[in-house]
């Protein structure tokens, strides 16, 4: 393992990558000079992983090149990237559980004697030499099995693997997420040593503190493009955040109260297998937040209201009309829509187009006899796709190719096209990036303005507080309290969500 270091450097020029309709990277030009640590930052989905995967040969760029020492290199496979001197330390180390550290490190290139017999003596000599040279001799026993390693040791094994052969570029993908503070210090010392030896280090992390400790340069990606490259010595955290999100987040929740007095949804003492004694009212134009810990029965209540779970006792009235339980079709026709928690598993048809997914609950309005009027359907899907700003080249694209935020917008588009009176949104922003979140918040505000009664289930307290006119808190299948917008704070919601069981059952009875 001679980490012979010449004076190389890596660069990407005009790099673009599309996955179907989605542009993951767009015209990215960046340099990773030798002897420097270049930090790579950006929101989820900004394109960091895609860039790393192109460097390691896992993905092929749609356009542009990767250069090493100023020469274009073709990286068609991880093996080629490795041969070219590019290494990546993955976020989740890949460790073979039932073999020793030594075999893990040299997996694929084990020293052997004639007849393909493993040369154990040579293996031991090598691992000991390498451990000694890198200063890990005391923290890593080469005889330990892969399954016995701590997270930090697993990381070390990956690093040892990366340093076999001649490494010119080493990328660390969020290496510290499972490390303790001392381990982080040791890792940083190692990274600095590699840098001083002339390796071009790429360091991906979300942790501002680490970035400023370690990086010489900071490259920020946003929406697949380079938002800026800063000198770590001169940049501040605020600069980075601005580059990453490109907008002021404090405006995300600005929303007027438009609630009226007209009760649209009236839930009276509803009991199902999962929840008991639920009473709640939502008025036209009102946004009610439904908070609670996971397992409090919020999603189950939502499903029961949507007609998908049997209601054992109690009533649900929508504009005075009683909804029969167990009949989602009737509930939808009465004017209630549910965007469920798991959008991929419960809402979307991933292999169908945006058009198909949008029109599904309005087909009966779009059909003549039983034939779907195609042009009307296209217009409708286009209208809502435009209105919700679904980022896609065409409404004919398969939904599975969209990002999480855009998929959520398609789910919303479906219900908006139906023009419901009540809309229940279960975790509407889970797993989507900040930008799309802000858009979803805006959509929710717009819907309230149109007079729709909204029930928003969310586990993110700032979201509940920012959106809701009124917060209803559930715990263990019961409502434990209700807070107006002015009363609601994170602390009060949490104390209700974790309220004592006795108290909650009393409230359940009186409610």
């Amino acid at each position: 393992m001679t980490t012979k270091l010449t004076n190389p450097g890596a660069a990407v020029r005009g790099l673009g990558k599309s996955f179907g309709a989605v542009r993951a990277l767009n015209g990215v030009t960046l340099e990773f000079p030798p002897g420097q640590v270049t930090a790579l930052m950006g929101e989820n989905g900004a394109g960091k992983s895609t860039l790393l995967k192109i460097l390691t040969g896992d993905h092929q760029p749609t356009e542009g090149h990767v250069l090493l020492d100023g020469v274009e290199v073709a990286l068609h496979s991880p093996a080629q990237a490795r041969a070219a001197g590019i290494r990546i330390i993955p976020q989740e180390p890949e460790i073979i559980p039932h073999v020793s550290v030594a075999e893990n490190v040299y997996a694929g290139a084990l020293p052997r004697r004639s007849g393909r017999r493993l040369d154990r003596a040579e293996l031991r000599r090598r691992i000991e030499a390498d451990l000694e040279r890198l200063g890990f001799a005391r923290v890593l026993d080469p005889d330990l099995l892969g399954s016995e390693l701590t997270p930090a040791q697993r990381q070390l094994v990956e690093i040892l693997r990366a340093l076999t052969g001649e490494a010119k570029v080493i990328a660390f993908d969020e290496p510290t997420s499972s490390l303790s503070e001392q381990e982080v210090d040791a890792l940083f010392a190692l990274i600095r040593r590699l840098r001083d030896q002339g390796v071009a280090v790429i360091y991906v992390s979300h942790r501002m503190k680490e970035i400023f400790q370690l990086a010489d340069r900071i490259a920020v990606l946003r929406d697949g493009a380079v938002a800026g490259v800063l000198d770590a010595g001169q940049a501040g955290e605020a600069d980075l955040v601005r580059l990453m999100v490109g907008r002021d987040l404090s405006t995300m929740f600005v929303r007027q109260q438009v609630a009226t007095d007209r009760v649209v949804l009236d839930v009276r003492d509803v009991t199902t297998e999962d929840v008991s004694g639920i009473s709640l009212q939502i008025r036209a134009g009102e946004v009610v937040g439904l908070a609670g810990l996971i397992g409090a029965g919020r999603s189950e209540l939502a499903l029961a209201l949507a007609g998908d779970r049997a209601i054992l006792s109690g009533k649900v009235l929508l504009e005075g009309q009683e909804l029969r339980s167990g009949r989602p079709g009737e509930v939808i026709r009465a004017g209630l829509g549910l965007a469920p928690e798991e959008r991929k598993a419960q809402a979307l048809f991933l292999h169908r187009s945006i058009r198909d997914n949008t029109s599904l609950v309005v087909l009966e309005r779009l059909r003549r006899w039983r034939f779907v009027r195609r042009s009307a359907e296209r217009e409708l899907a286009q209208e809502y796709s435009d209105r919700l700003r679904v980022r896609t080249p065409s409404i004919e694209h398969e939904v599975r190719k969209l990002s999480g935020g855009n998929q959520q917008k398609v789910v919303l588009a479906r219900w908006l096209a139906r023009k419901p009176k009540v809309l229940i949104l279960d975790e509407p922003t889970r797993g989507i990036d900040v930008g799309a979140k802000a858009e979803i918040y805006q959509i929710i505000a717009d819907l309230a303005k149109e007079g729709i009664a909204l029930l928003v289930i969310s586990s993110e307290l700032p979201e509940v507080l920012g959106l809701a006119d009124r917060v209803v808190v559930m715990q263990n299948g019961r409502i434990t309290g209700e807070l107006s917008r002015s009363e609601a704070t994170e602390e009060r919601i949490l104390s209700l969500a974790m309220a004592d069981d006795l108290v909650s059952s009393d409230e359940g009875r009186t409610a």
Binding site: R23, D223, P328, F349, L350, R391, P393, A436
Partner: protein, 341 residues
């Protein structure tokens, strides 16, 4: 969401999108089927002059009609997320019933056909009810049907061919008649296939069928009455299987409890899979299935014309089913074990 990014990339994405859409309208799967069909026709055509004669083509088409009808409805069931391996037994039972009812009603073909279709409806709905309300896995439920319906057919016929129908003009018309140079049987397939195609592609019923197969939870939450659809789809299959049974009677001249209908389940499923139906449901179409039926028919006839042991045809069909599904899995991006993600 910087808008500049979107407008910059949109043209490039669009031109690729158009090319992809063009390919999609022909269908990559259909294209490869057409190529495979051309290869098979050329191969056997060059080996045997008679193979591509109009006469032999009609033989191929007629032979493929019965399995084609079943493949068409099998496609609907598979798109809906189900599977029916009792189709052959259903056709066999319908065949026996049609001939026996015909005979006992004093050679009345309408009674014979009505009885067969009635039995088809009942069996189809029964399959649907068992699957939906008995909560039995579709494969298991229809595997039971495969045995039971065949058994019923053998019981009522004593295991022998029943009646003789080719003294009746209606059955003669069905088996030998021609309209505009095409056999009546082939016309029947065309009409059924077209009707099912229109149902699937142009009606809300079809959309809902795709939705149920694509994601049943989402379909339920979208207000689709899944139970009603599943039972209806199996009912439709029962009717078409009965039509296939009647054609079987017309072709062979009598009601056949098993001969001619055994193996139809494999043929219909193979055709649907080759034609691009995802066996998980939610994907597929009649066009692809018909192409696959033509391919299988041409292959079978070619092997027969070449005098190749008919046992090889089973091997060929089994292999094709596996190949079709393997191709499908790879297309759908199922992760291969052992490769870096």
């Amino acid at each position: 969401m910087s808008t500049t990014t979107v407008s910059d990339t949109a043209p490039a994405v669009k031109s690729r999108g158009r090319a992809a859409e063009l390919l999609a309208s022909v269908g990559g799967q259909n294209l490869s089927l057409i190529v495979a069909l051309a290869v098979v026709l050329t191969l056997f055509g060059s080996l045997n002059d008679n193979y591509l004669s109009w006469n032999n083509i009609q033989v191929i088409a007629e032979a493929a009609t019965i399995s084609g009808l079943l493949a068409v409805v099998q496609t609907v069931v598979i798109i809906c997320g189900g599977l029916d391996i009792s189709v052959g037994s259903q056709a066999g039972l319908a065949s026996v019933v049609s001939a026996m009812a015909f005979t006992s009603a004093g050679a009345n073909p309408m009674v014979g056909m009505a009885a067969a279709i009635g039995v088809g409806v009942v069996i189809g709905l029964l399959n649907g009810v068992i699957i939906v309300y008995g909560r039995v896995n579709a494969t298991i439920a229809t595997l039971a049907g495969l045995a039971a319906y065949k058994g019923v057919a053998q019981l009522i016929s004593n295991g022998a061919a029943q009646g003789y129908v080719l003294n009746n003009s209606v059955f003669i018309f069905l088996s030998r008649g021609k309209i505009a140079a095409l056999p009546v049987m082939v016309w029947l397939l065309i009409v059924v296939a077209l009707a099912v195609h229109v149902l699937l592609k142009y009606t809300d019923i079809g959309r809902n069928i795709y939705a149920i197969g694509g994601n049943d939870t989402a379909a339920r939450l979208a207000g689709i009455n899944i139970n009603k659809y599943l039972i209806s789809v199996y009912g439709l299959l029962g009717v078409v299987a009965a039509v296939a049974g009647i054609l079987l009677t017309a072709r062979t001249g009598s009601g056949q409890p098993t001969s001619g209908s055994e193996g139809l389940e494999l043929q219909s499923i193979t055709a649907a899979a080759l034609g691009g139906c995802a066996l998980k449901g939610g994907k597929g179409g009649i066009g692809g299935t018909l192409l696959a039926v033509a391919l299988l028919g041409a292959l079978e006839n070619g092997l027969t014309v070449q005098g190749i042991n008919s046992f090889w045809q089973n091997v060929a069909q089994g292999s094709l089913l596996v190949v079709a599904v393997v191709i499908q899995q790879r297309r759908s991006g199922e992760r291969l074990v052992g490769l870096p993600g």
